[in-house]
């Protein structure tokens, strides 16, 4: 592999300096963190750079970390360099009370549905998205089901004995 993780890290640091942080390598894949408002700049740089050439957006999703105050929602970008077959991923963090993130639709058209999905499940507000509405869940849903403050179970059911399902209830 011609493009090593060290090289990617070096190029990023040359360009953005201290702004990129949290470098880690899991199972050989580099991941790092950038500030919320720098997501597009980073994507653009990774796309344009003649050496890095991360021109394929594999996936875009979110994670909810309820214990991290002020940075509860992480949006994760998975990128692929098809020439060198190298993958990276980077995260931005945002406040759950005001989850505004710039949309990547202008850069990658495929981000359109992925961002809608992320909005659908986590309520991340992609600023500038052309059509930000629910994509998988029913339109009438009034919450974001994958945020951890909401239970996974269907709440309209009354016939299930919670104790039988290992939640609530007591042993005696």
């Amino acid at each position: 592999m011609s493009l090593t993780n060290e090289r990617i890290k070096q190029r990023l640091q040359e360009k953005f300096g201290e702004a990129v942080s949290g470098f880690e390598e899991q199972y050989g894949m580099l991941s790092f963190e950038v500030p919320n408002e720098m997501n597009l700049k980073t994507l653009q740089f990774l796309y344009d750079d003649e050496e890095l050439k991360f021109r394929f957006l594999t996936d875009l999703c979110a994670v909810n970390y309820p214990e991290q105050e002020g940075r509860e929602l992480a949006v994760v970008y998975h990128l692929h360099n098809l020439t060198d077959n190298t993958r990276i991923r980077f995260k931005i963090f945002t406040d759950i009370k005001k989850p505004d993130v710039f949309t990547a639709v202008k850069l990658f058209s495929s981000a359109n549905w992925m961002e809608r999905e992320t909005y659908d499940f986590f309520g991340v507000n992609f600023v500038g998205h052309p059509n930000l509405k629910r994509i998988l869940n029913v339109d009438e849903m009034d919450y974001f089901p994958l945020r951890k403050e909401y239970p996974l179970e269907e709440r309209t059911r009354t016939d299930k004995d919670d104790a039988m399902f290992g939640r609530g209830g007591t042993m005696n």
Partner: protein
């Protein structure tokens, strides 16, 4: 050498008398060249032996239904050779599989398009109660949106269970009074689902 496989080891000679199965004639009064009985019974007899099912198969239970339709179990033996895919022609809605909440309006629409008299069979834990999918995206039982006549338990139910459920539907169909669909009780049932 390959293992000799032989089915039907107790072979029977073909006999036209036993090969053709006939239904019992309904109770009635027989005389010389005539037979009187209740209209309900005759209509029920005809209906129950010519049910046209509409399979609404959304997941794994649908696979089990395919086995039921196949030659080994052969639902056609019960007068249901014709599986219809237009709700307007069918009598029995067979709901098999997980119904997501997004699918619920579609299922309801299919039910509404069926002509009376119509029956509904809910196959498997998912269709009957949500099954293992106790989650925000799955409808917890189709009886929340449409009335159901027979539930088949299991995950998935074996074809034998499906046949059993089907025969129970036949029983219901055969015994149903032809006036039932006009009764106040039935109208009340539909009203409770907000239909009509």
């Amino acid at each position: 050498m390959s293992r000799p496989v032989r089915f039907n080891i107790y072979q029977k000679e073909a006999d036209a008398k036993t090969a053709v199965s006939m239904t019992e004639a309904p109770e009635g009064y027989t005389g010389d060249g005539f037979f009187t009985t209740k209209l309900s019974d005759v209509v029920g007899l005809a209906r129950k032996n010519s049910i046209w099912p509409l399979p609404f198969a959304t997941s794994c239970c649908g696979i089990e239904f395919m086995a039921t339709m196949g030659s080994h179990y052969d639902l056609a033996r019960f007068g249901s050779e014709r599986v219809g895919f237009s709700p307007r022609q069918c009598d029995l809605l067979m709901v098999m599989g997980t119904i997501a909440k997004k699918m619920a309006p579609v299922l309801r629409q299919v039910y509404l398009q069926m002509a009376e008299p119509r029956w509904v069979l809910s196959m498997g834990a998912c269709a009957s109660s949500g099954g293992i999918f106790d989650t925000y995206s799955v409808l917890q039982g189709i009886d929340q949106i449409i009335p159901v006549d027979i539930y088949i338990p299991g995950c998935p139910p074996r074809p034998e269970a499906v046949l059993d459920g089907f025969m129970r539907i036949q029983e219901l169909v055969g015994q149903e009074s032809i006036r039932r669909r006009n009764s106040e009780q039935y109208k009340g049932l539909l009203e409770s689902y907000g239909i009509q």
